[in-house]
């Protein structure tokens, strides 16, 4: 019969104990109790065995006097000694059989561990019972046995890389003390002396009473994985370095539009507190918008929201706050990254600092406009100021030099040397004044050479572009109906711009007094027949009280007008063999139209406004 459970064993022990107890009582022979003690020690445990010895001794002491005191004490002592001897023998046998079982039986099991396996005794002494392990480290089974017998507790460490010994030992000790599973990574030496990375996993094996009877472990070669991971880390580092070093600001957003990542350049540029941005994705998009210039925020929000809602790539220009508080123009571009189902995973964005270019363009545009203004003489008073300035400078020089000239001559004796030098200067100054005059004259007459074939549509677009701000600030809605097949005309481009600019400005001004919702400006270009093209500028103002009078010089309807603009326009158009006329429109407002003859050649050539402008400014 096999006694499997503790209760069964205890029951048997109790039964045998009780039987021998009664026999001892009946026979009056205490040595019968020794059987009980032996059974208890074997079946229950050594502590209970000690208790049984004590109880047995007391019982013997009770039993013995019944038969007189003869040899009573000696017999009691003999009993106690016998009981202890029995108990010691039982417990020693139990320990020996346990260790024997642990080592011999574990040895059998460990050989079956797949891969590189090892086992260890409860005292922590390891062994490599498995053939694969022995092969790896290059130890034969015989050598293994010798190593085991040599009683070197940590012999296995000689196969561990010297740099890993300490950590490995510490982990092993910790597991031995606590009984916790051991997981560690270390380099193990192969038979040929090379080291490879291994992941070492060991768990304790326990007996039915929870005592650790041994350890079973498994080492897994992770060298390739480790190297791959290192390579991955390296490449990730390089990628990160690249992302942080490229001269542009890179950032990522979640599909919902929350900032997720800013590269170092962005963080440095904007002075973003990276501590605030973490944890990723929780920062509100609103706070990102706050980085933009107050005037741009609404637009930024609209563009981003639209793009995020539709999943379209976005491009946006706005002013972003740099860490020093300066707002700089930024060109932002975003592309969504999608998975195979088309779901957006991330938004990848770059920001280019285009502030310098924008400002350069802006100043160029301003310079252009300034030039254009001076050149086109939209307002005669402005022109007169320019002319006065241009002329007054050389005149002032003439007057001063002439004064000096006179004084050198009137001196006693006259200083002819100085006078002659000053006279030279007077001539130079007078020449400069004459040049100014001829440049002004060139403005209004066609001494610049043969007119070039120009595209009137381009002229119209350029003028509308130039006046874009003005149109917007006056709430005028612009309607362009330009004939895309408009033939080229032979004309001076600058003068044509001047005419269109004047007409458009007049139209804008004519609508100042009507409600903003009806302020519409309509510019039409059409080819009238095979010989002429027409450009019509129509406003929705009050109309004209006398359409023919408005082209007369010094006739004006504006309080601060000079009455020269349309007169100049008409003379320019007529100088180009064209016509300029005005009409009232039935639906309200006025329409001013000019027609020009079509040039023989249809080649449209861009004339360069800038060169003429520079020549004028001189």
């Amino acid at each position: 019969m096999e006694l499997t459970s503790m209760t069964q064993r205890r029951a048997v022990a109790a039964a045998i104990g009780a039987v021998s107890f009664f026999i001892a009582l009946l026979t009056g022979e205490p040595s019968g109790l020794l059987v009980t003690i032996a059974v208890i020690s074997i079946c229950v445990g050594w502590k209970t065995g000690l208790v049984a010895i004590a109880v047995g001794s007391l019982l013997s002491a009770e039993v013995l006097p019944v038969y007189g005191t003869e040899n009573g004490t000696v017999r009691l002592v003999a009993f106690v000694a016998a009981a202890f001897g029995l108990w010691l023998a039982v417990s020693t046998f139990r320990r020996i059989s346990f260790l024997d079982e642990a080592y011999h039986q574990a040895g059998l099991g460990a050989a079956d561990i797949p891969g590189l396996g090892w086992s260890a005794g409860p005292d922590g002494r390891r062994r490599f019972p498995n053939a694969a392990t022995l092969d790896y480290v290059g130890v034969s089974a015989k050598e293994m046995r010798e190593i085991m017998d040599a009683d070197d507790f940590s012999w296995w460490l000689r196969f561990v890389h010297p740099d890993d010994v300490e950590a490995s030992m510490a982990q092993w000790r910790h597991s031995l003390e606590t009984g916790e599973p051991m997981i560690g990574e270390q380099r193990l030496r192969r038979f040929d002396g090379t080291y490879r990375w291994f992941r070492d996993t060991g768990v304790a094996s326990r007996d039915e009473r929870g005592r650790i009877v041994g350890w079973y472990g498994h080492t897994e070669d992770i060298d390739d994985r480790r190297k791959a991971e290192a390579a991955l880390r390296q490449s990730e580092r390089e990628l990160r370095l690249l992302v942080d070093t490229v001269p542009t600001m890179i950032w990522l957003m979640t599909p919902a539009g929350l900032p997720y990542y800013f590269n170092k350049r962005f963080v440095d540029w904007a002075g973003i507190d990276s501590a605030k941005v973490e944890p990723r994705g929780t920062r509100q998009f609103a706070s990102h918008v706050e980085l933009f210039h107050p005037d741009d925020r609404a637009a930024v929000k609209a563009v981003f929201q639209k793009s995020f809602a539709r999943g379209e790539p976005l491009q946006h220009k706005g002013r972003l706050c740099r860490k020093d508080g300066d707002y700089r123009w930024i060109d932002s571009r975003f592309e969504p990254l999608r998975d195979e189902d088309g779901t957006i995973l991330r938004w990848y964005g770059v920001n280019f600092d285009i502030d310098d270019e924008v400002r350069a363009q802006e100043s160029l545009r301003l310079a252009d406009e300034r030039l254009a203004r001076a050149l086109r003489a939209a307002s005669l008073s402005e022109l007169s100021v320019s002319i006065a300035h241009e002329l007054n400078q050389p005149l002032q020089a003439v007057v001063s030099n002439a004064g000096a000239f006179q004084r050198w001559l009137n001196a006693d004796p006259p200083n002819f040397e100085h006078a002659s030098r000053v006279a030279q200067k007077i001539i130079r100054n007078a020449d400069a004044a004459a040049q100014v005059v001829s440049r002004i004259r060139a403005l209004f007459s066609k001494t610049e050479g043969e007119p070039l074939a120009i595209d009137l549509n381009a002229v119209i677009r350029e003028v509308c572009d130039l006046l874009g701000d003005r149109l917007a600030s006056s709430s005028v809605k612009l309607e362009l109906h330009l004939d895309s097949r408009l033939p080229a005309v032979a004309a001076d481009r600058i003068q044509m711009e001047q005419v269109v600019l004047n007409l458009v400005r007049n139209a804008i001004e004519a609508m100042q007094e009507v409600a903003t919702n009806v302020r519409r400006l309509r510019i039409v270009s059409r080819s009238q027949n095979d010989e002429t093209v027409e450009v019509e500028v129509r406003d929705c103002g009050r109309g004209l009280s006398n359409p023919e009078l408005i082209f007369d010089a010094f006739y004006t309807t504006k309080p601060d007008g000079m009455g020269m603009g349309l007169a100049i326009c008409r003379s320019i158009v007529e100088a180009h063999c064209g016509r300029l006329w005005a009409e009232n429109v039935d639906t309200g407002g006025a329409s001013i139209t000019f027609s020009l003859p079509i040039t023989a050649t249809n080649s449209v050539e861009e004339s360069n406004a800038a060169t003429v402008g520079v020549a004028l400014r001189g």
């Binding site: 006065a388 400078q393 020089a397 007057v399 001063s400 030099n401 002439a402 200083n415 100085h418 200067k425």
Partner: protein, 218 residues
């Protein structure tokens, strides 16, 4: 003595002689004005922008500034304001190609000596320069007297200063003694010490010295 010599003479005396400082962005205009000033023996230096004037160290001698209004960068009117805030009181003559009334009012209010428009007659220009330079000479002389008097005033004890204040307001010794709570003899003593230290031979002399002091010290 010829003009050449007198001009050279004026030049050798340049350490203390007047100088005109011309600021105009037009080289020809600057050059012609310098010629004109040279022909009447007035030294001149010229700058092509207001910023150059601010960067340069102006000579310590009677001078006047001739400013154009419209120039690249700061205008002449701006420069006038900056110099005023810096405490530089060199008289200013404006010479501009397109002055309007508002501009000239602003300039004159800020203390300009004259506001001329280009082209200006040579004599008109020279008269304005001469007036400005004379104003500067007078200003510098007054400043010198004031400095000297201030130095004398600094040597007075607090009591002597009190007595001085009473004396120039016309108080008699008896009255001063009563107001200060001291004897008349002591007042006399302070008074004679004060007169001596102020280098004043008479009450009239003392009064004129007193008036040359800056208002905040009186």
């Amino acid at each position: 003595m010829g003009v050449v010599e007198s001009a050279a003479g004026a030049y050798s005396d340049s350490v203390s002689g007047p100088i005109a400082i011309l600021v105009d962005d037009d080289t020809e205009v600057r050059d012609s004005l310098q010629e004109l000033l040279n022909s009447v023996g007035i030294d001149s230096i010229s700058f092509s922008s207001t910023q150059e004037v601010l960067d340069a160290e102006l000579p310590d001698r009677p001078a006047c500034l001739v400013l154009d209004v419209r120039m690249p960068g700061l205008s002449g009117l701006d420069l006038q304001q900056i110099l005023l805030t810096k405490g530089i009181q060199t008289p200013v003559v404006f010479l501009t190609g397109h002055g309007d009334i508002a501009m000239s009012v602003q300039a004159m209010k800020a203390g300009a000596v004259d506001f001329l428009t280009k082209p200006v007659r040579d004599q008109t220009f020279l008269d304005a320069i001469s007036a400005a330079v004379n104003a500067d000479i007078a200003r510098r002389a007054a400043a010198t007297v004031s400095r000297k008097t201030m130095a004398l005033y600094e040597t007075l004890t607090p009591r002597e200063r009190e007595v001085l204040t009473f004396v120039v307001s016309g108080a008699m010794n008896k009255q001063i003694a009563f107001d200060l709570g001291i004897s008349e003899i002591t007042v006399k003593l302070h008074r004679s010490n004060m007169m001596r230290k102020m280098n004043a031979r008479s009450l009239t002399h003392l009064l004129s010295a007193w008036q040359s002091l800056p208002a905040e010290m009186r």
